[in-house]
């Protein structure tokens, strides 16, 4: 039950885009049409589900103060938490490389449609951000971390698909010239953010 709450909470209330502004760069750059936006959303969700449990295990069995106790008593005082950033980003970068190779091998059509955005997932702040939030929140188990990753990924997908749908329609409207393109996208995202804030009062 607690997991279900966390799942819904991370989709709507703690939405990666609208509550924390993470993964904004690719969010703004890839939201020109719904199809690619959806593909990227799926890729990000997949990466979150794969990397979060790995990072959770790394954090709890290697990095935290006292985490290395399973190796023996003399390791109980070792604190490697300052290495967390570099470990997390290494896991994410290498998983991206792996996923890229797998997608290229098994689904060349998806690979072609995602193009450059697949490797760019490595520097998508939503994924590293999730890992850092996970560290801050002290989840109970790797399973909880996976659920959190899945929820955040789906929330991210929801946001990017929504924005892409609006931008497709926007092609027909008459926007002041200097505001066209990226300017109006910023303002739109802001307005969507305000709409998403109505979820804030909900207690789960």
């Amino acid at each position: 039950m607690e997991e279900l709450n966390l799942f819904i909470k991370s989709i709507f209330i703690d939405n990666m885009i609208f509550a924390y502004f993470l993964g904004m760069c690719s969010f703004l750059a890839v939201s020109k049409n719904v199809k690619t936006a959806f593909g990227l959303g799926i890729a990000v969700t997949f990466m979150l589900v794969v990397t979060l449990p790995i990072n959770y295990l790394l954090d709890n069995y290697l990095l935290k103060p006292g985490a290395m106790q399973w190796l023996g008593e003399e390791f109980a005082t070792v604190d490697l938490s300052f290495l967390a950033l570099i470990m997390f980003i290494a896991v994410i970068a290498s998983m991206t490389q792996l996923v890229e190779m797998a997608v290229e091998k098994f689904s060349p059509s998806l690979y072609a449609s995602l193009g450059i955005f697949l490797p760019l997932i490595a520097v998508n702040c939503a994924i590293l951000g999730c890992a850092l939030f996970m560290q801050q929140r002290d989840f109970g188990s790797a399973w909880t971390a996976t659920v959190y990753g899945a929820g955040s990924g789906i929330g991210w997908t929801l946001a990017i698909v929504g924005l892409a749908a609006i931008r497709e329609k926007l092609a027909y409207s008459n926007i002041p010239k200097p505001l066209r393109g990226i300017g109006i996208t910023f303002i739109l995202t802001g307005l969507m953010g305000i709409a998403f804030m109505s979820f804030l009062g909900i207690k789960l």
Partner: protein
């Protein structure tokens, strides 16, 4: 003193080629830390230092990096610099480090860094790369400070935590616009800056 390419590298990003409002890089952190001026300035300085030095380091070793592992090499260099900044902040300004929470760590994935490393440092000499890093860092910091200025002034009526809107205004019925403190308004503020900037620079307008 500066050659043409160095001058362009240093001054271009301040306005015509600004990383945030023209190249659309590094938006995430730009929006989250701008509710108050002080964290925005700290963030701007941190990013400038990290961009400058990562550009310098990558440019120095650019001929020895094998092409297919360059992303990992870049990330490791950037991550090492970010860890240094993070530890320095924790040691000398713990309050600020708490306020910025995960966003210092997220400088690693700040697209300005990767973008400049890929676009500039990998194909240029160390000195222009260093200047390019400083220019882009300052360009980023300018936007941060402008956004934070408006958000803090309109949202809490203060600048650097000091009350600037006189008490008499409040007695006449003026009240702070709480909406400005909320994150979505940062996006709208940046949108307005882009609007102003593009109406000044017509060649940047999109069709």
């Amino acid at each position: 003193m500066l050659s043409k390419i160095s001058k362009e590298a240093l001054l271009g990003p301040l306005s015509r080629n600004n990383p945030v409002i023209v190249q659309v890089l590094g938006i995430c952190s730009c929006l989250a830390v701008t509710a108050k001026l002080e964290p925005a300035i700290v963030m701007g300085i941190s990013v400038t230092a990290i961009t400058a030095f990562s550009n310098l380091i990558i440019s120095l070793i650019r001929n020895t990096i094998p092409n297919n592992i360059r992303i990992i090499v870049q990330l490791v260099v950037v991550a090492a610099l970010v860890i240094i900044v993070d530890q320095v902040l924790k040691a000398y300004n713990y309050e600020m480090s708490k306020a910025l929470s995960v966003f210092i760590g997220l400088i690693i994935t700040n697209c300005i860094l990767m973008g400049r490393l890929e676009a500039f440092a990998l194909s240029n000499k160390p000195w222009p790369s260093f200047l390019d890093g400083i220019g882009n860092g300052i360009g980023y910091a300018i936007i941060l400070v402008v956004v934070a200025f408006f958000r803090e002034l309109l949202g809490s009526g203060t600048l650097f935590g000091i009350q600037v809107i006189p008490q008499a205004f409040y007695e006449m019925g003026y009240s702070n616009n709480g909406l400005m403190i909320l994150p979505p308004m940062a996006l709208v503020t940046v949108g307005c800056i882009i609007w102003w900037h593009r109406s000044r620079n017509k060649d940047l307008q999109e069709q």
